[in-house]
Symmetry: C2
Subunit: 353 residues, 2 copies
């Protein structure tokens, strides 16, 4: 930026005095023709954005950014619902980024902090790479990361604990007398899949049940994939009496398949999900689910950032929001009928007006 | 603003030269002590924000705001999911406001356009008052309103048509042979309640069914309120064979009550909701629902705004997104069991880790 355009180069390009350029850039009363010339020259030289950026550099913008992986994902939306009012109450506008979980996009957002269009950033990256860490180290504004970061990363960090979350659910299923507890997990090469798989093994060990590979089925984190995986699992192991599903969408797929197969939930097979989305309470039977505290993670992240923005000089903090088991009818209910068809079996769209 | 602080008054307050103030405000290399003095003086005089604002006035900020009534409402989130990628693709950042449906908040957002922190605004007000219209007329940046505005309002406007939406659902229920079609509506003094009530009357007339006040029940737009209203309605009129519910949450409440009462859905009573939220497909039986095109309204609003930002001088446009009936098992299914308990009857929360 030191080699970039200055008031002098703009004045030369515009053919006006340095004083005129200064007046225009400071918004002081100036002849319209002069304003036009200066702005055109500044534009051509790429000056004004930098000038504004520099001016903002020592100023508050009263804006904070939240960069989430996916604007359609209920877990991020639950964070957003908490972040927005906390920032609003503190007088900040919220700038929203959706990075589509693309690392390059996330790194662009971190780099753009140099433009000082916000005073701080909350980011929820899918996974933190070395490139993230380098850019974070050079970040020009406070950053709070929601998610896993390597030990020692000098940044405020809020994380979930899905591993313990799986244990809560398995303990609950075991306490209900279930002994053939299968796991329908997401892909093991994803951060959540790996953590949930580890939690499953630990939980079985803790209650004294053997780990049986035959009771593990992998699915993508969506309902149709959940259906396919559970159908395969049931064909192979019709004796399962409980299904621990790695998220609510997989669990909804499990309910579909069990209904079609005439298996009662929870009498024959208990079902637990994870994330405790709005869908869990809307399903029938309503779905027992592990809350990973998305809302609370959002709130804590916003509060940590506000502390920094209020000048708090302190060591980076790491906060783990504990999981919580929300028990509903799919594990603890009774008398649910299993006949009928799957919930999505009959979709058809009528015509509009 | 003409009487506000100038470079001269800042220089006097800071005890530095006018040239120094100019250098600082333009981000040119300056001694740190001078920067500190000038910034402190500018702060005290309230200068710099205006200077930045003025500078931005003739610049693009590459930011667009979306002001929604409630960051937790699925209909607005559906809009957000479409608005965000359209703006991102066009190179705009999204600033998010949640106004809590408070008119004064909405008007503040409109007024703040004068600060030119964004290039344009998409707003979804709950209802447009005279104060909105006055502020809109003076707005300093292009605005697109999602919602109803009075005829002749000189602003781009995208609207739903819930009245026709109700008709689509009633036509469908009538075609299925239902003749005692009740309406569980929201409060009649809300814009959606009034429109849906009018749609119900029109729809009955169109298919030749008499309007019977006894078949109309009013509830707030939430599930527990829906439950209470449907229980009252069924007690009064056990002969109803279809329920048109003014939104999906009321319809979920209706499913709860019908289940508890041992009435089969749809054999005994068909149920239709409105808004076609994610909950409709998650419920069981899955819920027939009228989509009011939230996603499409968001997309169209973003496109109209981009047209304006790209310099499009044209008459204000009004676009009505037609409703669409999404038929699922709650009206067109069969063989669904009605025994068991309500989906939320057993909620209990386990402890965290």
């Amino acid at each position: 930026m030191a080699d970039g355009p200055t008031i002098n180069t703009i004045a030369a390009r515009a053919g006006v005095s340095i004083a005129s350029v200064s007046r225009v850039l400071n918004g002081l009363p100036t002849r319209q023709e002069t304003v036009r010339k200066v702005m055109a020259a500044a534009d051509e030289l790429g000056y004004v954005r930098n000038a504004v950026a520099r001016s903002l550099k020592s100023r508050r913008t009263h804006q904070v950014a939240f960069a989430m992986a996916d604007v359609g994902n209920p877990a991020y939306l639950a964070m957003l619902r908490e972040i927005q009012p906390v920032l609003k109450a503190a007088g900040y506008r919220l700038v929203l980024h959706s990075t589509d979980a693309v690392a390059a996009d996330e790194i662009d957002v971190l780099r753009s902090l140099g433009e000082r269009y916000v005073d701080g950033l909350i980011m929820s990256p899918l996974r933190v790479t070395d490139a993230h860490l380098e850019t974070l180290a050079a970040a020009r504004a406070p950053v709070v990361i929601i998610g896993q970061v390597p030990e020692g990363t000098p940044v405020d960090n809020v994380r979930a604990d899905s591993r313990t979350g799986v244990r809560l659910a398995i303990d609950h299923l075991y306490a209900l007398g279930r002994r053939r507890v299968a796991m329908v997990n997401g892909p093991l090469d994803t951060v959540p899949g790996a953590a949930r798989g580890a939690g499953y093994r630990e939980a079985l060990e803790a209650v004294g049940l053997p780990y049986d590979e035959d009771l593990v089925q992998i699915a993508d984190f969506y309902r149709p994939e959940g259906r396919r995986a559970v159908a395969e699992l049931l064909a192979r192991r019709p004796d399962v009496d409980a299904l621990m599903c790695a998220n609510d969408l997989i669990a909804l797929g499990a309910l579909d398949v069990l209904r079609d197969a005439g298996r009662r939930v929870p009498e024959d097979v208990a079902v637990a999900g994870m994330d405790d989305t709005d869908l869990a309470a809307a399903s029938w039977p309503s779905l027992t689910s592990v809350s990973l505290g998305s809302a609370e993670r959002g709130r804590v992240a916003a509060e940590l950032l506000l502390e920094r923005l209020n000048g708090g000089e302190r060591e980076p903090r790491r906060v783990t929001v504990p999981p919580r088991l929300v028990v509903r009818a799919s594990t603890a209910g009774e008398g649910h009928c299993a006949e009928g068809r799957s919930a999505e079996g009959r979709h058809a769209e009528g015509s509009g007006a």
